[in-house]
């Protein structure tokens, strides 16, 4: 049963990837002049002509799509004009910075969100719950970039506690540059991570609160309460464990969303991740990088969704039974 489910979901992911790759192909190769994806637009005419023939751009469009897919599968998505290196390698080298940012913001969101959600859900109408419902509407209304600006004004320019942007000092760990291990790097990470964490924080609080509310009506909680178990123990030892399943799912799913949101945060705080790379590339029409970013993020998204689905199915048989029908 699990095998069928896995197969079905993997197929579904591949279909989505195929559709997205066709959209990207049509968008970049068919709408614009495809030669200029690989040749500098100021190149002489005979060079352009030669490249057209070499790349097979004079062939029918379905053949061209085949070439695009073959190249993509062998990891060749073109060379960046501005950075003069393979676009996929460029994305990979910048991804560590984005990964650090997303990871840090998820840690903040979980560390604050779980306790706040538990308190808000347990007490019927305590201060956390009341503040939450009034803050939540503000939370969805304030654009991330504006909040980032405010944080820079308050914490960097006025209080001078933290730097305004950039990644700070990095050290190499197993060949990967990281700013998590230097004090300077961490101080650069705090503001962007906080700005990015607000969205997952709000989600985790809401989800935890809803879960606690639901579970506090159940027999096992009533029974435990009747036994005189302390609320703190009941909450953290029994309820939390049951509430955690949907939250773990959500954290997995939100990982991809945060990578997309990081585009904004990285631009505000000049954090040199793939999001800032995308925006810079769009501005100078560095198409190979744009294509590499889009395919990279979409593949990552699909892989994450697939993993989350599989974990859920392993935990809950009902999902894998209904998923294949």
């Amino acid at each position: 049963m699990m095998g069928t489910f896995l197969l079905y979901r993997t197929l579904q992911a591949f279909v989505t990837l195929a559709v997205v790759s066709i959209i990207i192909f049509l968008g970049v190769f068919a709408l614009g002049n495809p030669v200029y994806v690989l040749v500098d637009p100021s190149a002489p005419a005979d060079v352009v002509e030669q490249t057209i023939r070499r790349l097979g751009l004079d062939r029918p469009i379905y053949e061209q799509y085949g070439i695009f897919v073959t190249n993509a599968l062998s990891g060749d998505l073109g060379t960046s004009y501005t950075h003069a290196q393979p676009s996929l390698a460029l994305i990979a080298s910048r991804f560590t910075a984005t990964f650090e940012l997303v990871l840090a913001s998820l840690v903040i969101a979980v560390a604050l969100g779980l306790p706040l959600g538990l308190i808000a859900g347990y007490g019927k109408n305590n201060w956390v719950g009341r503040t939450l419902s009034s803050v939540s509407i503000l939370g969805i209304s304030v654009p991330i970039f504006w909040l980032g600006l405010l944080m820079i004004i308050v914490f960097s320019l006025e209080l001078k506690w933290l730097p305004t942007g950039g990644r700070g000092e990095t050290v190499a760990l197993f060949g990967v540059e990281t700013s998590l291990l230097t004090l300077d790097g961490l101080s650069h990470l705090v503001l962007p991570a906080m700005a990015l964490s607000l969205f997952p924080l709000a989600l985790i609080i809401r989800l935890t609160r809803a879960g606690v509310r639901e579970h506090s009506q159940m027999d096992y909680v009533r029974f435990a309460r009747a036994m005189g178990i302390r609320p703190a123990k009941l909450l953290f030892a029994y309820v939390l464990r049951n509430v955690l399943i949907p939250i773990v799912t959500m954290i997995g799913l939100i990982f991809g969303t945060l990578i997309a949101f990081a585009v904004v945060t990285e631009t505000v705080f000049a954090w040199p991740g793939i999001g800032k790379l995308l925006i810079d590339s769009i501005k100078v029409s560095d198409r190979p990088v744009i294509i590499a970013y889009l395919l990279f993020v979409v593949v990552m998204f699909l892989v994450i969704n697939l993993i989350v689905d599989v974990i859920n199915a392993a935990l809950d048989p009902r999902i894998r039974l209904s998923g294949t029908s």
């Binding site: 989505t16 504006w146 889009l294």
Partner: protein, 283 residues
């Protein structure tokens, strides 16, 4: 209806904020103290004045000026015009497109329905910002591209919502009755089913206006949305950003406050509509 709506003070205030924003946006060329994009009216000597300062002619800059001596207050009024225009236009088109697709999907059922809903599912599994960015990355920037991006992000939500309601309505007796009268399919869909799906659609449309404002502002802030000649609120914030580091906060802060006030207002109105239409819903 309006009386019931404004029984909540927040909703009343929000409605007032939104309507005055619309009025300001429509009347911007007549009420703005300065035409911020007429270069003949700008003086470089007036550049980067703080809020409430006057120039040598005694002209009052309520919210200060930018690096070219442009009155920020006037620029905000003109920006509001562009932001609201883009948001309303794209929401309206997405509404029409999404509703039509959702209705057709629900009414035809079968393979068409399965196919269309698979597309909707696929699209909704990606975050809106990513889809919008993907589109501007592929087709380029500009006001028409931003509108296309917002429509592409939003249509699926209307389609799913209207399909859900339409499937419920389709089973009702009155639809059976009009089917017996041999009315055409399109007449049944648009004249009989659609009006009964309007409640959830109108709530969705309100919330989507806020989301459209936000997407446009975000794209423009990132520099991949509207061109510099059409400065929406998001673009004004972005333009003020470099000067912020040298202490000229007002250039970004005030357009941002207007943007937030607008979005809070629209979201509260959406919440209130949900309460009134569906009293049992939990916030």
């Amino acid at each position: 209806m309006l009386k019931e709506f404004t029984r909540s003070i927040y909703a009343g205030v929000s409605l007032a904020v939104l309507s005055s924003a619309i009025v300001f946006a429509l009347l911007a060329p007549w009420i703005a103290p300065q035409d911020p994009y007429d270069l003949a009216q700008l003086f470089i000597l007036d550049s980067r004045l703080p809020p409430m300062s006057r120039n040598s002619d005694g002209f009052l800059f309520l919210l200060g000026t930018d690096d070219q001596g442009r009155d920020v207050f006037s620029a905000i009024l003109y920006g509001l015009r562009i932001s609201l225009g883009v948001a309303f236009l794209s929401t309206a088109i997405a509404f029409l497109l999404g509703t039509a697709i959702g209705l057709i999907s629900a009414y035809l059922g079968g393979r068409v329905d399965a196919f269309l809903m698979r597309i909707v599912d696929m699209q909704l599994s990606f975050p809106a910002v990513l889809i919008a960015l993907m589109l501007v990355a592929l087709v380029g920037t500009g006001i028409d591209k931003v509108i296309i991006a917002i429509i592409a992000v939003q249509w699926a939500r209307y389609a799913r919502t209207v399909r859900g309601s339409a499937l419920v309505e389709r089973e009702r007796e009155y639809i059976e009755a009009v089917e017996c009268l041999a009315f055409s399919r399109s007449r049944i869909m648009f004249v009989h089913i659609l009006p009964n799906c309007m409640a959830p659609l109108s709530i969705l449309a309100t919330v989507e206006i806020a989301s459209a404002i936000s997407i446009e502002a975000t794209l423009s802030f990132l520099g991949v949305g509207l061109p510099i000649t059409q400065p929406s609120l998001g673009l004004l914030i972005a333009n003020g950003y470099p000067f912020m580091l040298s202490g000229n906060y007002w250039l970004s802060i005030y357009p941002g406050l207007v943007l937030i006030a607008l979005m809070v207002a629209v979201n509260i109105i959406g919440d209130r509509m949900r309460e009134l239409i569906n009293p049992r819903s939990e916030k």
